[in-house]
Amino acid sequence: MATADSTPGEDTQVMKGTSAVAKGVAAIDPDVISAYPITPQTGVVEKLSEIVADGDIDSEFIKVDSEFNAASTCIGASAAGARAFSATSSQGLKLMSEPLFTAAGHRLPIVMAVANRSLSGPLSIWADHTDCFAERDGGMMQFHAEDVQEAIDHVLLSFKVAEQVNLPALSNFDGFILTHVQEPANIPTEAEVSEFLPPRDPAYTLDPSDPATMGAYARPEHWTEARYEVQAALEDARDVWTDAVEEFDDVFGRDYTEYDGMIDTYRADDAETVIVALGSICGTIRGVIDEMRADGELVGLVRPRVHRPFPAEQLRDALSGAHQVAVLTKENSQGFESALASEIKSALYHAEHQPPMKTYILGMAGRDVTSEDIKAIVADAETATDVMDFSESESWPQLREDIISGGI
């Protein structure tokens, strides 16, 4: 999150989130773009198709038959040595799940813009994080943008890091809330991008003059090690990301370097109640924090910018002074609790200070989250104690209890 400027920069334009991301991608100039429509991502590939149709970039633009094959064509292209991009949402990401897991194992740095949306059923087109959390274990890096500018910038950073650590990346930005908003953002120029992002230089490609066999199967003697390499590369990605955000600041003048670029905080230093949340909801939370601070309440925000690799060390530090933590999240690992909350608890397992934590499942499937909702949560979080039953530690504050019939 860039610091609050008094006026929007003159080098910014007001445009739709999807168009802005597409223009950022165009500046990156991928060799191959695979496109398949799905709400609310569609605007990204539509705008890219327009840019290609106008001859502004000469990427191969493959109008595939499904998200499954959007990912699969990207795999072929990336294996051939190309820089490959696609975008998706929700069901589309699920359909890509199988090839994307292999893309990590094949060590192919495909970058996907993911316009986050809930998963069926019931069918819903609106924003939440159930889609990206369902893919969190596959070896893909995952980043979460708070606003349109970050949605653009994270795609660029994704390529930078993915191509160094040889892993795919999902650059998440909330459906509709960020895809369909019109707000000022700076579109990187091709000159800036070429300064920041060198040409891809893969160790192995499908080059007939230097043949290799990619996608071999590994027996029990080798599979664990091959997959451990993915884990190790994700660990390495932390430092690579940190370097990348620093270099990004140098080139573009946008500073994402707080906490090594892994997490972003707002008035959290002396906060007694710390809210942890991902993505666009953090914007609304900032406003609430300002209001509550004006009333003397010590509230702050900790926002993981990077979700995979998980910023455990930075979270331990950022939460080290919290009296209580409120996790506001738009996902739920059905049958247990919020996956994000589980991860934060796991990160705090080794921490000296383990603040009581309450989890609030909200904003699911596009349900509007107002300032009042957040204020009520902060007040509730103050009741958090060291030992809580599960029924106390997680709640669905927006749940309309009058219309539920109770499971079976």
Binding site: D31, V32, E60, I62, V64, G76, A79, A80, L206, P208
Partner: protein
């Protein structure tokens, strides 16, 4: 008799230089598809990239860190070889525009991008990817090797399993003839996509198959080849009969061999004195319930009738 033979061991004199489908692969003894792989690499040569779905030929050729392939090769998953190949082709289109020196081969036109999948990976689970690749017009030659069932997983029925054949998911029984469907016509489906060159071939005639591969590779855009490749284990016959059964499939009309250009058959292998299908099925355990004294005559007749109808439609009888 063997004692009369002059045995000489030539093992140390034989070298495998230049082979692009290498010995040491782990296909079963007498594997028909293994021969198809050999012919494909021989016809295509070294300026080739092969994309292959999960399946027998992938598993037998790439146990890490070994590879039987001498050409560039990628396996990704079961149902996307056509898409992976599409992506490779797209990448090379981009390279050709942006960095013409990218390739060491003479030029992009010399590059052969081939997808090679089994019948299950192609006609069933990978059908969407194949359809997309063909309708978008990628310059890829897709070769389906057909051993008429999912052999890699233990002989389950596919849409290429012939009528009456027993598989582990189409057993015969009191209430079952075995598989109760006829082979899906992939050549016509490919042609209906506007694929300019479509051909079928049998590994019993490698010369013909390789010529068809060469023809396909010379042309731009998508091409589809369907090659018949018997499986001794899945079909239940003596491994020495692989080529003979591939031949009999043609001679009985079960597997017509032809070329289609612009959607029309332009060349078809005529069969004189087409043999009854019994000549083909009698060697195979998968059809054993159709023949013999207690055989299911109706089932066999049903299979024969389908073959006869198709033979008439195609005009294969000489």
């Amino acid at each position: 008799m063997s004692s009369e033979l002059q045995e000489q061991d030539y093992t140390d004199e034989i070298d495998h230089e230049g082979e692009l489908w290498n010995a040491g692969h782990r296909a079963c003894a007498g594997c028909g598809p293994a021969n198809a792989m050999k012919y494909i690499t021989e016809a295509a040569g070294e300026n080739t990239i092969i994309a292959q779905p999960t399946g027998c030929m992938e598993v037998v050729s790439t146990p890490y860190p070994e590879s039987a392939w001498g050409v560039s090769y990628i396996h990704n998953i079961f149902e996307n070889a056509a898409s992976v190949a599409s992506g490779i082709e797209a990448a090379y289109q981009a390279f050709d525009r942006r960095d013409p020196d990218h390739l060491d081969v003479a030029d992009e036109d010399d590059l052969n991008i081939i997808a090679v999948g089994g019948d299950g990976a192609t006609a069933d689970i990978g059908f969407r990817a194949l359809s997309g690749m063909m309708e978008r017009g990628h310059d890829v030659t897709y070769i389906m090797y057909d051993n008429e069932a999912y052999m890699n997983t233990g002989v389950q029925r596919s849409s290429q399993t012939p009528y009456g054949a027993e598989t582990t998911t189409s057993p015969h029984g009191e209430a079952s003839v075995g598989n109760d469907t006829n082979k899906k016509d992939m050549a016509s489906i490919a042609a209906a996509h506007g694929v300019d060159y479509v051909a079928t071939a049998s590994i019993s005639n490698p010369h013909d198959f390789k010529q068809k591969i060469e023809t396909a590779l010379e042309r731009d855009g998508p091409k589809f080849l369907h090659v018949y490749a018997p499986c001794p284990v899945g079909w239940g016959y003596d491994s020495s009969k692989t080529v003979e059964l591939a031949r009999l499939a043609v001679e009985t009309g079960l597997f017509p061999v032809f070329e289609m250009e612009g959607g029309e058959i332009t060349n078809i292998r005529k069969v004189s004195d087409r043999k009854p299908i019994e000549e083909f099925v009698k060697y195979q355990k998968r059809f054993s319930h159709l023949v013999g004294e207690d055989g299911d005559e109706e089932g066999l007749a049903e299979l024969q009738a389908w073959i006869d109808g198709r033979a008439e439609d195609l005009g294969i009888d000489a």
